[in-house]
Amino acid sequence: MRIKNIVFIYLIFFNFTLSFETITELYIKTYLAKDIDTFSPEARLIIDENSMEDYELNLELIIDDDDSELDLARVKFYLDESDLELGRNRIGWGVGTNFNPSDIFNDKAFDSAFDPYYRKEGRDSIIYTKYFNNSNLQALYTFTQEKTILNMNDERSPDFAFKYKKNILDYDIELIFISKGEHLRYIGITEEADSIYGFNFKGDIPNSDFGIWNEMIYSEEENDIGAAFGIDLYFAEKFYFNLEYFRNYKGEDKKSEYDFTLLSLQENIGQNYLIPALKVEFTEKLSTYTYLMLNLDDNSLIIGDTMDYYYNDIISINFGLYYILGSEGSEYGYYSDEYGVINAGGSIKAEF
């Protein structure tokens, strides 16, 4: 039995004597596509100790049929006007809805694209946040990360970054600097070290009900700009609409220059995308999310429609249907050739 599992059993035992709160999440995930018929059970054990004023402890263990992994293990100290987080953490930077060019610290799992319960993989890090009157300054350091994916090595060098955030005239504004370390990908590609400068804002279009956001970065290594720019609107109490444009500075605007190996890294390979989406809350238990992901460079697309249903306080169900279309050599044309024009996925989650 792995040592991590023994530690967790130990912690669960001590849950009865200490004030840990535990949440157990059980999943059954399935995905249907051409030549793919997966059925994946997964369990997550979440332990939170947050009864103390000065610190909190959060642990999250994932167990699936292949492996178990400590995805989150951090302690957060609440100091005078500042917080200090140590350990394995999910770092959530960026203001975009569908894409976050400045959110580069955590890896995405291979099958995350159509997984509604997907969470980014944790990364060992130190995060210090200093709070001021209406702003905060965050400093972040991530440690070397080595892992094995499909029996191949994947290694990330440390990153360090700063983010200054302030609310001005009802806009959240962020200035970002990231010194990104080299990343040796398991498929044999090396992403060079980079300096990234970012400017984000989120707020409302004046004299309208529309929200607006911009997440923009400049990559010194690529000498190029990445961005996510969008608008959104809640209306009639049940509907949420958003429209986002994404510029992928790592991609190519000509399909003849696409690197299809990047698809296995959950990276987009085109440069310009448009994503309109509509969420409808039919009831407090049932909602749907319909979106179009359009590659503007090659006109290939995915139309997705997912449904979320909260059966009761413990069980929720998600089902998604995806229509994938594109010409030969296009990004989503490649997907449809590999996996079929119509894909479907479903998940059942029990949480207690």
Binding site: V95, D170, D209, G211, L233, Y234, S316, E351
Partner: protein, 243 residues
Amino acid sequence: MKKTIAFIFLITLFSITHSEDGKWILQKIDEFSDFQSVYSKSKMTIIKKGKITSTMEFEAYSKKVNNDDYMLAKYYYPKRLKGTAILSKDNSIWYYNKRSNRIRLLSKSAKKGSMMGSSFSYDDMEMNYLDDFTSEILNKRSKNYLLKLIPRDKDSKYKYLKMSVDKKSFLVKSIEYYDDNNIKFKTLNIIKYKQFDNKWYETELEMIDEVNGKLTRIKTYEDSIKTEIDIPDSQFSERKLKK
């Protein structure tokens, strides 16, 4: 003739000094039920066709800061919502999800949207009747005043409200919400009040969606209520959203 003039003068003087207009009634409502700060724990239940479809519990801090209403709500039941928090201040709403560790500033239109699938909108939870509405008395002959409130914000989704107020206690009994087509589409009933610090706090209320029949009941746990406490402004911040 002189007696007549004197009589008219006295009546006019009395009217000026004791004018029962809508604004005066709203001021009395504020006097008896408007708290500067409150902490409480509540349970929200959504009921359709007589059956409970959803239950959630949250704790909330609220405070008046420079005529603005600040609110921080943290959900702790059911487990799928645990760690979800909402901060509302300065006309903005921030939403935090613990599992993704991301804070989102929502667009202002989100305030008009449903709060967690209930019949309440975020706007409904923060209405300041005195500042946000003009008012007129429709009826004062019964034991309740009936007021008509018209929102000052032209973009409000409500065309007007009808508010029933107890004449003796100046406590709001019910509010009917009307849309642009003069159709009543929501009704708020305040079922129970409890007295704290010489004022009255709504401890049980329900909102009925007249269109689909959904009923949302919010019941505040009376032993959790703390009023007029010293809540620092820093409690309503991103830092506290995540804590």
